[in-house]
Symmetry: C2
Subunit: 216 residues, 2 copies
DNA sequence: TAACTTATCGACCAGGGTGGTCAATTTTAT
DNA sequence: ATAAAATTGACCACCCTGGTCGATAAGTTA
């Protein structure tokens, strides 16, 4: 399926995929326009339907592609040997930023699929894939983590939630700020202050939620 | 403007407004369909345009209405005499839940307007109103608050952010859960366990971020 | 070069939805 | 009974939809 499309040079593939990712994210499956996708991708409408025989086929291909990216560029790269909770957070967050910087459209699309999983009609196999991925994502911050370092006067699960919510809240606020500036064109040096702020926050969280040293 | 509409019995007004709130939220201004709004509101399309002379007029009316609801049902009811940070959080959260339960569509619409403020074309006066509201909302958790009770080994602003992010994270997770169940029809008794969980979390946060008593 | 395959295009299709109008009708008030 | 106000949906001209297809263009092979 889509052999012709996959024989294309990668940059041209990416242009089409990105155009489609964006369009489906913004408008949803039904309202998304294949005309708009073709135009944005810089190809004729006939060509789009030559690559993918229908709107649905294209959509399914996108889902598959987005899953693959998340798997290969994110999940597979996590070092699950690291047992320290905050180290894991640091790693996964850095990883997420890196992937986001290159594949932001794909990741936003993936988020859309997960959020609208009930309304988007997926094939049975894709739905299976989705469920498996969902489970895997849930373990990212828990698998092989040493929770014994957490303070004991607060239920472990509560600490975990609080930390997760704090980090996620910071991420969201950062994202909102980034939306103003043009995030895509920022290089690593521009990101430095934000990284540093994040590391500072992590240290503070450690101070809050880990046992005090003198108690160990 | 819209005198005819405002002479309608309130429940009929509400039906029209809710239909419009939902449609604009889901599809955005351009894609929203006046046909769909009329159908969902149970009125003829001609009637809709008899009430509001155009799609834009309707949209502006909605924005105004949503602002008014937020102002009267939420902002005006906050007790700014209360200086304890966590009491303020508790109050505003309870208030938010109460308003949300009655005016969920209006509030979601308001959130939409704030989020897409750059793309939605508002009149100059409405934009002014938006900016003022934005400022007022920002002070909800800071105005006349006694911050001296916060622990001193963490920068005040950091503590504030962490608490805000934690509460907001909990709220979001709750909202996602509620989406599964039918939130609209839940009575106060059904909400009890969630309220209790929330109060428990607040106590924990107090333990974390306030000075230890023996230090006072 | 000629023959053949593969890739690309956009005009075109039938169908449906768009915001908005309006003459006809019903409801309400006098 | 009469006038005024409220309500309706068929209708308008227009735009866009997913998808097709014959006409080219580009690439490959001999």
């Amino acid at each position: 399926m889509s052999e012709t499309f996959e024989r294309l040079p990668e940059d041209k593939q990416a242009k089409v995929l990105d155009a489609a990712f964006v369009e489906f994210c913004e408008k949803g499956y039904e309202q998304a326009s294949t005309n708009q996708i073709a135009k944005e991708a810089g190809i004729g409408k006939g060509t789009l339907f030559y690559y993918f025989k229908s709107k649905q086929t294209l959509f399914h291909y996108l889902v598959e592609k987005a899953f693959d990216i998340a798997q290969e560029e994110y999940l597979d790269k996590i070092n699950f040997e690291e047992t320290d909770f905050f180290e894991r957070i640091k790693q996964t967050t850095e990883l997420k930023w890196a992937v986001y910087h290159i594949h932001s459209h794909a990741l936003k699309f993936l988020a859309y699929v997960f959020m609208h999983a009930d309304e988007t009609v997926l094939s049975v196999e894709l739905n299976e894939k989705r469920k498996i991925a969902e489970k895997k994502w849930a373990t990212v911050l828990t698998y092989n983590i040493d929770f014994s370092k957490l303070r004991e006067d607060i239920p472990q699960e509560t600490s975990l939630n609080f930390i997760r919510w704090t980090v996620e809240g910071y991420r969201q606020e950062l994202e909102a700020q980034m939306k103003q500036l043009n995030f895509e064109t920022m290089n690593n040096e521009d990101m430095r202050p934000y990284f540093d702020e994040f590391y500072g926050y992590l240290e503070t969280l450690k101070k809050i939620y880990y046992k005090k040293e003198e108690e160990e």
